[in-house]
């Protein structure tokens, strides 16, 4: 009787432990998953207002504004249909350039995407896959894509 009781307790304990671990794991996963949105989706109001997400697109040519002597930078991210203003304060990756692909992590604040991380990868031809896909799904008018 005693042994059975003990074993029951142990099984219950293991189950509780596994359950707790699974619950904590799910929570950790949920709070760290970031969804991707392009400027068109943001213009359509699909992006969350209160959650961090990934914004991807091309840095619009001629849109980068730096405040001299500080780390503050403003630029526009475009998918050639809509644009989103982005603000960032920090060190930009080496390959951040106008007219090239970029992915930013951050959240929307009164119409501006406040980024806390900017990614641009080590390849000149690089375009973030999500950006490439959203450009492929909604091809830009040719005069815009090749213009400027």
């Amino acid at each position: 009787m005693m042994a059975r009781h003990k074993r029951l307790l142990m099984v219950f304990g293991i189950l509780a432990g596994v359950g707790l671990a699974a619950w904590l794991g799910t929570q950790a996963f949920r709070s760290n998953v970031m969804f991707f949105f392009d400027p068109t989706q943001i213009a359509a109001g699909e992006a969350p207002a209160d959650k961090r997400f990934r914004l991807g697109g091309m840095v619009e040519k001629g849109s980068v504004q730096k405040t001299p002597g500080t780390l503050d930078i403003h630029f526009l991210v475009t998918d050639f249909k809509h644009t989103v203003p982005v603000s960032y304060s920090g060190i930009l990756p080496d390959l951040f350039r106008e007219g090239q692909g970029v992915v930013a992590h951050g959240r929307m604040r009164s119409g501006t995407f406040v980024a806390d991380e900017i990614l641009a990868k080590h390849d000149e031809k690089y375009m973030p896959p999500e950006v490439a896909k959203s450009l492929k799904d909604n091809p830009p008018p040719p005069n815009v894509a090749t213009g400027t």
């Binding site: 760290n32 998953v33 969804f35 080496d94």
Partner: protein, 654 residues
């Protein structure tokens, strides 16, 4: 003409690996000694041919043969000779050739050192390796031929240069070491498949498999550490691990490989965990292949991934399905036949090694989920997601620390039926020392930090103290220490050092991204960085600027850092060279951001305590593994037991 020679050699090598697989597996199946006798010459020929292909490609690189597309894409007349050779594995096609060559090398080693094994078993092992070779060479020739020529009118006057991030000594040797580790698990995989085909898995099998697996694991450890070190100083990220998908791709086979090493120990000593060991061997190699797949097919967004090519992706996927699917089918058919003879107690050494295996596999699973969830989501056509580093940092440390506790306790347990009360004294002393020293390090030397880090430092000290008890005790009693024990102790010391270092870095790093003009300083605790000046520099294939940053401690100059920003001409890309000063207890790190106009630059200033010990720890683990793998009993007993098996074999036959 010469590049075609390389391609021709590769085609012949493909045919020979087919022969190696056929004669090895079929010959063993039919017990045909004449078939099996073909296997070793085939391996030698295969190695010579793949080496020829490698030599041809190196020749093309060194002699600027830009008629070869791969050379034209990854080399340049201004590139120094050392990097022209290293450029061989600078991109997709050459890396595959390197992979194939390393596999040929491992196979050759197996063929040479397996003469003492039962002939049918050795022949099956080499046969399975032949299948892997065949698939890989087919993939190389069919989708990614490094010898592809450009039409005469398209031959460029000069090459497009090696990606500048790869022009670095650590990175030049990182891929070969990493691949040696990856591919080395193919040997463990082949041993597992051969055992399943034979339908026989005994303690002798584990003894044959162990040194190979441990050696592969050592190379993988060093390879991963080198890659991490490179990202630290060359990418200017300033850190040791970023949960980048490609880092994770190499970490998963390492975690499972670590589990495999420990599970093999149980199989060798006690004849237990047989089917679990087989499963881990299959899993470790599968994850190595998956790692190659993730990096090479470009499905993952990362600094490492090269151009995306769906055809290649599909081919590797088919390869993966064939290898993993085939092995798992074999496993489901054969594994139930393998019975483990004896039971064991809940606190015996076997049990602790089982818990350790569970923790390691769980850790690998966590990394797997975080790395592949975005891919799975994409494949299912759902909204594109990414998993932030927070997922890893909120799960992995807990599993890792649980593992460390298990090691510290389990190290005192005995085989079969341990009683922890026997080692109560050691446990007590170890824990007290760990608490005193650990708290002294974390709170005394650094002050209050994250509670998880303080626990980490204490547990790290605990592992170190725990793993020293047994060797010291043996020395005191004037008993000799076997290489296996020395190796294990060093590797566990490495684990302790690693945990202490990571805990300290995570909690006590000071980092600031600031805008600095000439003469301005930024304070980092007791230290301060003063931006002095900026000079133009010129290298063989780049120009740029070098800053002079003086580090002050308590207001007095301590050292000078020279971070650089380089513009590589050919690819017109910008590179960051961090300025790092390593002291025994910390790294002083500065990297240049960009010109902010108005005479100021953005500067990444960091102070990272004990960060070098993370890589040192990986070196210790690899060293320990190497010493353990060279233990005399593997060679001595191997010969004796092979003779014994051969005798019983003939006895049964007659």
């Amino acid at each position: 003409m010469i590049p075609e020679l390389g391609q021709f050699a590769l085609v012949l090598a493909l045919l020979l690996s087919g022969a190696q697989a056929y004669f090895g597996l079929w010959g063993a199946h039919r017990a045909n000694p004449r078939f099996m006798a073909v296997v070793r010459p085939a391996v030698a020929g295969h190695f010579v041919l793949v080496s020829t292909a490698m030599a041809v490609l190196i020749y093309a690189f060194v002699n600027f043969d830009f008629s070869v597309l791969y050379v034209a894409s990854n080399s340049n007349s201004a590139l120094p000779t050392f990097y022209r050779v290293a450029a061989l594995w600078g991109a997709h096609e050459g890396s595959l050739l390197l992979w194939g060559w390393i596999l040929a090398l491992w196979t050759l080693a197996v063929a040479m050192f397996s003469r003492n094994l039962p002939p049918s078993f050795a022949s099956r092992v080499i046969g399975v390796l032949g299948i892997v070779s065949f698939c890989f060479l087919l993939f190389t020739l069919y989708t990614s031929n490094p010898f592809e020529r450009l039409p005469v009118e398209q031959i460029p006057a000069d090459g497009r240069d090696l990606n500048p991030v790869l022009q670095d000594p650590a990175l030049a040797i990182h891929p070969p070491l990493l691949y040696t580790g990856y591919v080395g698990f193919a040997v463990a995989f082949a041993f597992a498949c051969a055992a399943m085909l034979e339908g026989k898995l005994d303690q002798a099998w584990a003894r044959w498999t162990r040194p190979w697996t441990t050696l592969a694991w050592c190379f993988l450890s060093v390879g991963i550490a080198l890659g991490s070190w490179w990202a630290y100083y060359e990418l200017g990220w300033g850190g040791y691990w970023f949960w980048d998908p490609v880092e994770n791709a190499s970490f998963m086979p390492w975690l499972v490989g670590t589990a495999l090493i420990h599970s093999l120990a149980v199989t060798e000593k006690r004849g237990l965990f047989k089917s679990w060991t087989l499963l881990l061997a299959i899993l470790a190699f599968s994850l190595s292949l998956l790692g190659t797949f993730l990096v090479r097919s470009g499905v993952l967004v990362s600094v490492h991934s090269f151009a995306a090519d769906p055809e290649r992706g599909m081919f590797i996927l088919a390869f993966l399905v064939l290898m993993i699917g085939g092995a798992l089918t074999l496993y489901s058919w054969r594994a139930p036949l393998l019975k483990s003879p004896a039971g064991f107690d809940g606190i015996s050494r076997e049990a602790f090694l089982l818990y350790n295996n569970i923790a390691l596999v769980l850790a690998a699973l966590v990394v797997f989920i975080g790395t592949l969830a975005p891919l799975v989501n994409d494949a299912l056509g759902m909204q594109s997601i990414s998993v932030g580093p927070g997922w890893f940092t909120r799960t992995f440390p807990f599993i890792a620390l649980a593992l460390v506790v298990l090691v510290s306790i389990g190290i005192h347990s005995a085989w079969k039926r341990g009683k922890l009360s026997d080692s109560r004294r050691r446990l007590g002393i170890g824990l007290v020392v760990a608490l005193v020293v650990g708290l002294a390090i974390s709170l005394g030397a650094y002050g209050p930090g994250k509670w998880l880090s303080i626990i980490g430092v204490v547990l790290g000290v605990w592992v170190i103290v725990s793993s020293l008890f047994d060797p010291i005790d043996r020395l005191r009693r004037r008993l000799s220490l076997s290489r296996a024990v020395i190796g294990m102790t060093i590797a566990h010391l490495g684990l302790g050092v690693c945990v202490i270092a990571i805990s300290t870095v995570e909690s006590y790093t000071i980092e600031r991204d600031v805008a600095l003009g000439a003469g301005e300083t930024v304070a980092l605790g007791r230290y301060a960085y003063r931006f002095d000046s900026l000079q133009p520099i010129e290298g063989p294939n780049y120009d740029g600027v070098r800053a002079q940053v003086t580090v002050l401690r308590d207001g007095k100059p301590l050292t000078v850092l020279h971070p650089e920003k380089r513009n590589y001409w050919v690819q017109r890309s910008t590179m960051t060279e961090a300025g790092i000063h390593s002291r025994w207890n910390m790294d002083l790190f500065a990297a240049l951001g960009e010109d902010l106009q108005g005479g100021r630059w953005s500067v990444r200033a960091q102070l990272r305590p004990l960060i070098d010990y993370v890589w040192l720890a990986a070196g210790l683990m690899a060293l320990g593994g190497g010493i353990a793998a060279s233990d005399r009993r593997y060679r001595a007993r191997q010969a004796a037991e092979a003779a014994a098996t051969a005798n019983t074999g003939t006895a049964e036959a007659t």
